[in-house]
């Protein structure tokens, strides 16, 4: 990770006036990860520039600026490059990862819904009910493995659901309770939840007598 990012920034490119002959006036900004030695050497008075790369680049410093104009003309020049607008591509990457993770979360919740519907459909068969209800618990636990931009209230709702499943045994389950769990999963599917949504989840579970904390029963 010594040289993490090399960004070439050209004033001419930014202005849309890039010409072949004007390459000698390019200014190259080299960004490097600061090492421990660098840290020691860095002057405390030096003010880091504001990163356009978002939080991931917060650990980056750019200690030196090297002007290509002072280089020996015989030194091979960098080939003409198309300037990358780093901030936009990075943001879109982050956004596409987030979208993918969101889709994954939704797909996971959808399969929880299907399993709970299966529990409801084969309610009379105690073995089917137990096996499918067990699978619901297993499936929900896997939600934590998805690297997902965290909305605290979404996570609270999922943990509420998980706890309520942990303290409910299939043999004590009623059809109304399954309905309640389905309602909570539907709320979770909205992902961007508020405190009121989580409270609503709690109310739904309590109204159906689904414990979210261990009880003697």
């Amino acid at each position: 990770m010594a040289a993490l990012l090399d960004t070439i920034d050209t004033t001419t490119q930014r202005d849309g006036k890039r010409e072949a002959g004007a390459i000698s006036s390019l200014t190259v900004t080299t960004w490097q990860l600061e090492t421990e030695v660098d840290k020691g050497l860095r002057e405390t008075s030096q003010k880091p520039e504001v990163s356009r790369l978002g939080p991931l680049a917060s650990d980056l410093t750019y200690p030196e600026q090297e002007s290509m104009a002072v280089r020996d003309p015989q030194t091979p020049m960098l080939p003409p490059v198309t300037a990358l607008v780093r901030d936009e591509s990075f943001d879109s990457l982050v956004s596409s990862i987030a979208t993918y993770a969101r889709e994954e979360v939704l797909a996971h919740l959808e399969s929880v819904t299907k399993l709970l519907t299966g529990v409801k459909e084969s309610f009379e068969d105690e073995m089917d009910r137990q096996i499918l209800f067990f699978e619901v618990k297993e499936h929900l636990g896997k939600l934590w493995e998805i690297d997902f931009p965290r909305n605290d209230y979404f996570l609270q709702a999922v943990s509420l659901l998980e706890d309520s499943l942990a303290y409910t045994k299939s043999e004590d389950l009623s059809k109304e309770q399954v309905e309640g769990l389905l309602e909570v999963v539907e709320i979770c599917k909205r992902v961007d939840l508020s405190i009121n949504d989580v409270r609503r989840c709690g109310r739904i579970l309590r109204n159906r007598r689904i414990a979210t904390v261990p009880t003697l029963s």
């Binding site: 399993l115 089917d128 137990q130």
Partner: protein
């Protein structure tokens, strides 16, 4: 000439889990005969025994100790399942790790059992008879994951996944005989047989009535009807099999679990 026997679900279970005296008798009979089994029996085997093992597996996964899992199983399983289950567990505790309460070891053993071992025991030394019923749930595969397995085992009245209505249409004369027999005073008190006969009446009006949950009620009669003319049905379940076998004229021999003897074939 070598005799031909066809096994019902209980005998298939006893081949794996039963008292040593029962196993001895079964080994003696099966070594002298050509042994057949139907795909419908395979379905029943999966629906009862393998599903019970999976259910216990989920209890063990959910509970802290084997003791707590056993407690739940003892409260949930029906009396017949409990009998099977005790037999299975008797085999399992022969493993010293499980006997000492090692949960992980028990989980591995149970998984091994429901994924392939019980099915291997089921198919060992037997040939399948032609599959006229074409029961799709009998193809349920436990290696595809337990949710998938449960889904594959499902059957509903409005699903078209077997030829049972067609099979029963071909055997409708025998169904009528069964209904007639149920009216005789000898069988008036046999609740199971009366339920079966009344369902047969509904099926004769609409053959699609046999699908879904009703298929389970008809189980013993279906097994009796599937027996090939040259085969003898072997079962331990006298009360459930005697009346339908008599009605549909199927040769049957019983092995009494409490007093197992080699029957005259």
């Amino acid at each position: 000439m070598e005799k031909k026997v066809q096994l019902d679900t209980t005998i298939q279970i006893y081949r794996a889990f039963s008292h040593s005296s029962v196993k001895r008798v079964l080994v003696k009979i099966l070594s002298q005969c050509q042994v057949f089994v139907s795909r419908y029996v395979l379905y029943e085997f999966k629906r009862t025994l393998i599903k019970a093992v999976i259910t216990f597996y989920t209890y063990v996964r959910e509970e802290q100790t084997i003791d707590d899992a056993l407690d739940r199983a003892s409260r949930t399983f029906s009396s017949r399942q409990k009998t099977h289950f005790i037999s299975i567990f008797r085999e399992l505790v022969k493993n010293p790790g499980i006997a000492k309460g090692n949960k992980e070891q028990l989980l591995i053993c149970l998984q091994r059992m429901f994924e392939w071992e019980l099915l291997d025991i089921f198919e060992e030394g037997v040939s399948y008879i032609p599959d006229h019923i074409q029961c799709t749930p009998s193809k349920a595969d436990p290696t595809e994951g337990i949710t998938q397995f449960i889904k594959q085992l499902r059957c509903q009245k409005d699903w078209d996944q077997c030829s049972l209505p067609r099979f029963l249409r071909l055997k409708q004369k025998r169904l009528r005989r069964l209904m007639d027999l149920s009216k005789s005073p000898e069988y008036q008190g046999n609740k199971g047989f009366q339920t079966l006969a009344s369902l047969c009446g509904k099926i004769l009006d609409d053959f699609n009535e046999c699908k879904g949950n009703n298929c389970k009620i008809l189980g013993d009669m279906i097994i009796a009807l599937e027996v090939l003319p040259e085969n003898i049905l072997l079962t331990s379940n006298i009360s459930d099999f005697e009346p339908p076998c008599k009605a549909v004229k199927t040769s049957v021999r019983f092995i009494k679990y409490s007093d197992p003897k080699v029957p005259k074939l």
